[in-house]
Amino acid sequence: MFKSLRAHPLARPLAIFLGCFALLALADRGAGNVLSSATAFSMLETFATGALVALGLGLAMMIREFDLSVAGVFSLAGCLMALIGPEDPRLAFAAALAAGVLVGAAQGLIIVRLRLSSVGVTLGGLLTCVGLAYVLTENRSLPYDNLEATMAVTRRLWGVFSLRSLVSVAIVALVAIVFGATRWGREVIAMGSDRRAATTAGVPVAGLLVAIFAFSGFCAALSGAMLTMALATAAASGLSDVIPPAAAAAILGGVSLAGGTGRPLGIALGVLTLGLLRAGLNALGAPPFINDVALGAILLAVGVLDGPEIARRLAAFGGRG
């Protein structure tokens, strides 16, 4: 029983999240700074910005690929949102999402057709999108003057949510259900653990790869567009620093760079851990760089524990003991 619990793909992400929570609560010593709706709201706002990007990147990592372009798409979509203007938010939104899906699908097709490495192709995608954002905005900070829309996406709902975080939660939940209940989730795992075997079994690996990169583009674009609405401004330079947290969240969430592991809910837990760390340390009054140090230490620990050498030694130790 214990073994099967430990082997569950969500066990570790959940343990890390709860562990961080317990440590923060302990450091708080009942002062009520960490255990507050303000901290929860702040955590969920981080989730709103990072969860979709991490989900797209995490799915790409699950099939043993990497999508560097998410940062570029995120930035480009945010700028398109401000450029097309607040007068017609629907058109702007549609344009931003379409750009994301197009960039993602195009990269996927290039990877499949030309048999290229996803790192190289999406690095190209990243630079192209960021460059395009600079050209379109002429390197200015663009205002997004639609107070109504800004209010709508940032207003607190039920104490801890905003429309923005609710949309992110809904999409993650939808993906988690589809991943868990349908053929597609199994195909992703199979493709990530052994692409040759998946091909022989009949999994349409090429189509799956293109779909995942298109979905990753969609997610990044949606996040970027919503962030522009929330901040009421967009600039090509200000929106591109999303890859390190997204990759960190995916790894905390149990996704391995070697592919074939992880679940959407695990990635969500990883993002929540990131948000909790930031909001909690902030609430404790810690200086901002402590956040990076803490995150770095956790990632290092996860990475070391994942390494084959440690696993071998642990197994040897367990066998002896």
């Binding site: 199979a190 052994d194 075997a197 998946a198 091909t199 079994a201 009949g202």
Partner: protein
């Protein structure tokens, strides 16, 4: 009357300069088990890939149930009723049995783990006598034999009429093999057609109704298994009688020294192996896949970090677990995976020749190209490689010539050492084989110690001066001279007479 389920007519396929299949035709009927035999590189696996849509033939027609089909991919092949159980299984270990059975099926609906499809998966397993397997168990927990049954159940659940099995028994235990044979005979009785690819001639004679032999990509013969003998089958596969292939053994060259191994252990693979490989001789460690033979060689090459034991090379202790240390002691390794562990495919042949010993071609750390080129030309002549090919990329060479390059690395060394070879003629055509065998004898005469592992017993019998046989990580017997004989070695490595080699 019998119905032909699948047929190939004049199928050819070339990969660059290498012709893998030339004008091959064959037809398999319902209720027939067809053995497919041939040496490595004869075209068996290409034929199988063509049928599964993994490789497109350059020419020729494939008919399924009489109708000409262009098979696009494995998914398409499955929908036409073809199913493959490859040597490396195509299961996802982290997924459950039921997930694996429906993984990648063309007719698998988006949501499938309830009701009818679950029942069909269960029925397929039951039909194979696997009532004990739990549908929700992850495949990770199953032993290899049961994984294979899951793989066959997958094909049955998808209504495959033609099953292709590629070396299905290579990693199975005797009990598992017996169970598999029973399953296959049951499928034959139900009118399935089975293409059975195997090196193990005994199994072919026990199981198959008819045998097709391929050699060098071409069809040699097809006929009832009962009309063949073991010897006639081997001759058909080799294309010559047994003796012509191999150079004469070195006569009475006794030299001091060699490789002494005491208590070599690689956890989970090799247990307490002790043997002596004399200098100037070819020592073969014979065993099936999983016997630990090839891993023992890898351990000597320093490629198994967990290896323990004492190894003396000409009386000098060898540090295990470090490939640079082994290479520095002149212990060289020719891998069975040339593409991954042998060559740099995008570098020139000359670069490849000197890559393993750059220091010997450098003056004060700067490569001395004139000397390297002169050496390259000399080695090329020695190994029988066209000198003009030296500047071209290694990937443009045929498998045989690539292998010659790797042997050339040993020849390029000034002092003789130890050459470890796993599957020295894998993917090498019959012509180049004889050259490689000659090279091996050449190295012996120069004072090298050669240790070889191979899955081809004919090669063991033809080349080895001394044979150690292994079964599941343990030494079974040491054979020399007249004791080096096919049936005895085969018996050692498949059904060893109970005796404790360590005692």
């Amino acid at each position: 009357m019998t119905q032909t389920l699948v047929s190939l007519e004049g199928v050819s396929k070339a990969f660059g300069p290498i012709v893998a299949l030339r004008d091959v035709s064959l037809a398999v009927d319902a209720g027939e088990i067809r053995g497919l035999c041939g040496e490595n590189g004869a075209g068996k696996s290409t034929l199988m890939k063509v049928l599964m849509g993994l490789v497109r033939p350059d020419s020729g027609v494939i008919r399924i149930g009489g109708e000409a089909r262009a098979i696009r991919n494995p998914r398409h092949a499955q929908s036409l009723g073809l199913g493959l159980v490859a040597q490396e299984l195509s299961l996802a270990p982290r997924l459950s049995i039921v997930d694996n059975i429906w993984l990648g099926g063309e007719a698998t609906p988006l949501i499938y783990r309830m009701g009818k499809l679950r029942a069909r998966a269960r029925a397929a397993l039951d039909a194979l006598g696997a009532q004990d397997l739990d549908l929700d168990q992850p495949v990770l927990d199953l032993p290899i034999g049961q994984r294979q049954i899951v793989e066959i159940a997958r094909l049955l659940a998808r209504d495959a009429r033609v099953l292709i099995l590629d070396e299905p028994t290579a990693t199975l235990s005797d009990v598992e093999i017996e169970r598999l044979m029973g399953i296959l005979q049951g499928l034959r009785a139900h009118g399935h057609a089975i293409i059975y690819i195997s090196h193990r001639l005994g199994e072919v004679f026990d199981l198959c109704d008819s045998v097709t032999v391929l050699r060098n990509g071409a069809h040699v013969s097809t006929g009832p298994a009962a009309d063949q003998t073991r010897e006639s089958l081997i001759e058909a596969m080799l294309g010559r009688s047994f003796g012509d292939m191999y150079p004469p053994r070195g006569q009475g060259v006794t030299q001091e020294g060699g490789v002494a191994i005491k208590g070599l252990t690689v956890p989970g693979a090799v247990q307490n192996l002790s043997l002596f490989a004399p200098k100037g001789r070819i020592t073969a460690i014979a065993g099936q896949i999983g016997s630990g033979a090839s891993l023992a060689n890898r351990a000597l090459a320093g490629l198994e970090p967990a290896a323990r034991g004492a190894v003396l090379v000409d009386g000098k202790a060898l540090t295990l677990g470090s490939a640079p240390a082994s290479a520095a002691d002149n212990v060289l390794f020719v891998s069975d995976d040339r593409a991954v562990e042998g060559l740099f495919p995008d570098l020139s042949c000359l670069d490849n020749l000197i890559a393993a010993d750059l220091r010997a071609h450098a003056v004060a750390g700067v490569l001395y190209w004139a000397r390297a080129r002169a050496l390259g030309a000399r080695i090329a002549r020695q190994v029988g490689l066209n000198e003009a090919r030296l500047p071209s990329r290694a990937s443009t060479l045929s498998g045989g010539n690539q292998q010659k390059l790797l042997f050339g690395r040993a020849l390029a060394r000034a002092t003789p050492g130890v050459l470890l070879m796993n599957e020295p003629t894998r993917g090498v055509d019959v012509g180049a084989r004889a050259d490689i065998y000659r090279l091996m004898r050449d190295l012996c005469a120069r004072g090298w110690t050669l240790i070889m592992t191979t899955s081809e017993l004919e090669e063991v019998v033809g080349m080895a001066d001394l044979v150690y046989t292994m079964y599941r990580g343990r030494l079974v017997a040491r054979r020399e001279g007249g004791e080096i004989e096919l049936t005895a070695i085969l018996a050692d490595i498949t059904h060893p007479v109970a005796k404790d080699a360590a005692a």
